[in-house]
């Protein structure tokens, strides 16, 4: 890669070769309200698990939209499903369903990956 005198950190770069959109597509299909997300971060601000760990739903949303499923399983398992996030959501997204779909989907797509 040509150096222009500055570099991009790996964590800030979306590598489309590694991008896996299957989970996101499945969630958008089963929970269409997720399309409305404006990444305001209200969910993260109120999160119960977020007060105990660095759990961040907004980050999970970004990871999903980048097709970055690695590490998602560990991250999503921190959620306690208390439901505060969907009550504060200004876009009325049914976030508890999104979380459950991720929990189920991560497992499904990870095992599919291993099979390949």
């Amino acid at each position: 890669m040509v150096s222009f005198g500055f570099e991009l950190l790996d964590s800030k770069r979306i590598d489309y070769n590694k991008s896996d959109g299957r989970l996101l597509n499945e969630i958008l299909e089963k929970e269409p309200s997720f399309k409305r997300c404006i990444s305001c971060g209200g969910c993260t601000a109120t999160c119960t698990a977020g007060s105990l760990t660095n759990f961040n739903i907004r980050k999970i949303n970004l990871m999903l939209r980048h097709g970055q499923t690695e590490g998602l399983e560990k991250e999503i398992s921190k959620c306690m499903l208390c439901g505060k996030c969907f009550l504060v959501c200004p876009r009325d997204i049914n976030l508890r369903n999104v979380i459950m779909l991720i929990k189920k989907g991560v497992l499904k797509y990870n095992t599919e990956k291993k099979k390949i």
Binding site: S51, G83, L87, N97, M100, L107
Partner: protein
């Protein structure tokens, strides 16, 4: 063997259904947990068996619960079940009296008029004959009601009814044909041999005036026997399988068998005991949001057909209204949670990040719960009251709050919930407190049901505040406010707390009684039990409930659940308060009055 050919379909049918039911009962009972089987064995030769028989009589024959719901519906079921039962019993006694022995061929009591063609002579024989005619009329009244119900179910208190499957239709035709055909063939025989009574004899005489009865008599008995056979053979694939399974359920339940957190024989028994009557459809508020496919009756149907999918399984508010109305008394909420546990058991969380640690010592542990954190006014009011009453309390989830685990449990994440339960239990017990004060009914329910907290009394804030009032620790003042009290699902139907909130509130304001209260309370629509429902659909349910409240013209709506408050508050201009707020408002007003400061109301 002198069994006539026409009796064979009936005899085969009844043998088939009895053998089938015995086999399936054995499979289900061996599928119970070890403890449950011990329970059955221990309780079998006790008074519980008689209690179960009494309950079978009350529910399976008289249909007491159905009567309570709607007398016409109850009468219809009773005429079928109790009428048929009596018809069989009377038939047997009649045959036993006639033959002076109990050892007579079984078919003779069922087809008695065919077997014994001599007209009844003695008074007793005439009485039996009249009794069976009377019972036939009695059942006919039920058959006519059932036919009428197919066209118009409103007088039966049912707005909606379930759709029938092919098996149901076949069994239904069989059931409806049994009694008219019995009437016709007994009348025909009476027309020939004059052995009928006040109902069948005149009909027989009338038929004899224009029909060659001799030549059609046997054919009519064939039709009767065949309709019985059709009913018995179609039973296992129809909704009428609930008749024998419900009896099994009543016995097993009486012996102390309870639902576990995993699928076993008892779940199967409950699933098949559903009569698909559709009473739960009318109880379900999700119909208001046009969700018509996930109600309990359909959910159980899917389990039976092994076609359960997540969309329907998780689309339920778990409000418990259907469970309260279920005439069979099925544990519909727990059945659904059990299925959810089964469905999500491959992906549970571990919550390794939870820390234990030593809690501060206190008399009372106050756990607000996540939802109260979202409605800070309730939290503030509670803390103010506790400070006012000088209580030595520890605010458990002030900063680093973990969830109680109930939302996980409702979503079927049983193993994950257990981790939270263990962590919270440690914290609560190490504080040495005697009372766990909770201001969220969702938490209250799991603390009572799934936590083991020896020596700690779990109290909802309505109970606790009432106790403070009774001890004179906080003052009361009756304000000129008319309010309705909304029973939260988890506090009311979930934990059976109806009176403490009302007694408490009566000290501070006037309550308007409603039709939709206590057990019949409505769900606010905000329930965490439903994972699938969209916000728009929740709003439709909520608006419908608010319209109901408005019809009573309240100044305020009072509830005892932060989630209900939050849900309602977003949809109306009427003031919505939690009872903690009412109490604190009363206390502060009283304080001001005592200090003789005039404040606007």
């Amino acid at each position: 063997m002198d069994i006539p050919f026409f009796a064979w379909p009936f005899l085969l049918g009844i043998t088939f259904i009895i053998v089938f039911f015995i086999i399936i009962s054995i499979i289900w009972i061996t599928g119970l947990s070890g403890i449950d089987r011990v329970r059955i064995r221990k309780n079998f030769f006790t008074v519980k068996t008689f209690q179960a028989i009494w309950e079978v009589f009350r529910e399976s024959l008289i249909h007491r619960k159905m009567y309570k719901r709607n007398p016409v519906l109850g009468y219809m079921h009773m005429s079928f079940a109790f009428g048929w039962f009596l018809l069989i019993v009377v038939g047997h006694i009649e045959a036993a009296v006639h033959y002076h022995t109990l050892n007579f061929p079984f078919w003779k009591s069922i087809f008695f008029r065919y077997a014994e063609t001599n007209p009844p002579v003695t008074f007793i024989a005439k009485a039996f004959s009249a009794a069976s005619d009377f019972l036939l009329i009695y059942i006919f009244s039920g058959v006519f009601l059932a036919l009428y119900k197919r066209f118009n179910s409103k007088p039966f208190g049912m707005k909606k009814t379930t759709h029938l499957k092919t098996g149901d239709k076949i069994a239904l035709i069989g059931l409806w044909l049994i009694f008219p055909t019995r009437y016709v063939c007994e009348s025909i025989t009476a027309g020939i041999y004059h052995n009928g009574s006040f109902f069948t004899q005149p009909t027989g005489n009338f038929l004899a005036s224009f029909l060659p009865l001799q030549s059609i008599e046997l054919a009519s008995w064939w039709v009767y026997s065949l309709s019985l056979a059709v009913f018995f053979f179609a039973l296992p694939v129809s909704r009428y399988m609930h008749i024998p399974v419900e009896i099994l359920l009543i016995f097993v339940r009486k012996y102390g068998v309870r639902l576990k957190k995993h699928v076993n024989g008892y779940t199967r028994i409950q699933t098949f005991a559903c009569s698909r009557c559709g009473v739960c459809l009318d109880s379900c508020q999700m119909i208001k949001a046009n969700i018509n496919n996930s109600q309990s009756v359909y959910f159980l149907k899917q389990i039976r057909g092994r076609k359960l999918n997540d969309e329907q399984l998780f689309n339920c508010l778990l409000c418990g209204r259907c469970q309260k109305d279920c005439p069979v008394g099925l544990d519909l909420n727990d059945l659904r949670i059990t299925q959810r546990i089964e469905s999500t058991k491959t992906y549970n969380s571990k919550y390794d990040y939870l820390k234990g640690g030593i809690s501060p010592q206190a008399d009372v542990v106050y756990f607000t719960g996540c939802m109260t954190h979202l409605t800070p006014s309730i939290k503030k009011a509670m803390l103010n009251v506790l400070d006012y009453a000088n209580i030595n309390y520890w605010f458990m989830d002030k900063d680093e709050a973990s969830c109680c685990g109930r939302p996980l449990m409702q979503a079927g994440q049983y193993e994950a919930a257990k981790k939270l339960i263990r962590n919270n239990t440690e914290k609560i017990l190490s504080s040495g407190a005697k009372i766990l004060l909770v201001s969220c009914p969702i938490c209250y329910q799991i603390f009572n049901e799934d936590y083991k907290l020896p020596g700690v009394k779990v109290m909802h804030h309505s109970e606790y505040l009432l106790e403070l009032v009774n001890q004179g620790l906080i003052p009361t003042i009756k304000l000129p406010v008319n309010a309705v009290y909304h029973d939260p699902c988890t506090l009311g139907r979930g934990s059976h707390i109806y009176e403490p909130p009302r007694e408490l509130l009566k000290n501070y304001l006037s309550l308007i009684p409603m039709k939709q209260e206590k057990e019949d309370a409505l769900c606010c629509g905000g329930s965490l039990g439903n994972i699938k429902i969209e916000m728009d659909e929740r709003k439709q349910i909520r608006d419908d409930v608010l319209d109901t409240f408005k019809s009573y013209n309240p100044d305020q709506i009072i509830t005892a659940c932060p989630l209900c408050k939050k849900t309602f508050a977003m949809g109306t201009d009427i003031e919505i308060h939690d009872l903690a707020e009412v109490v604190w408002k009363g206390i502060s007003r009283k304080e001001h009055l005592d200090k003789k400061i005039r404040l606007p109301i």
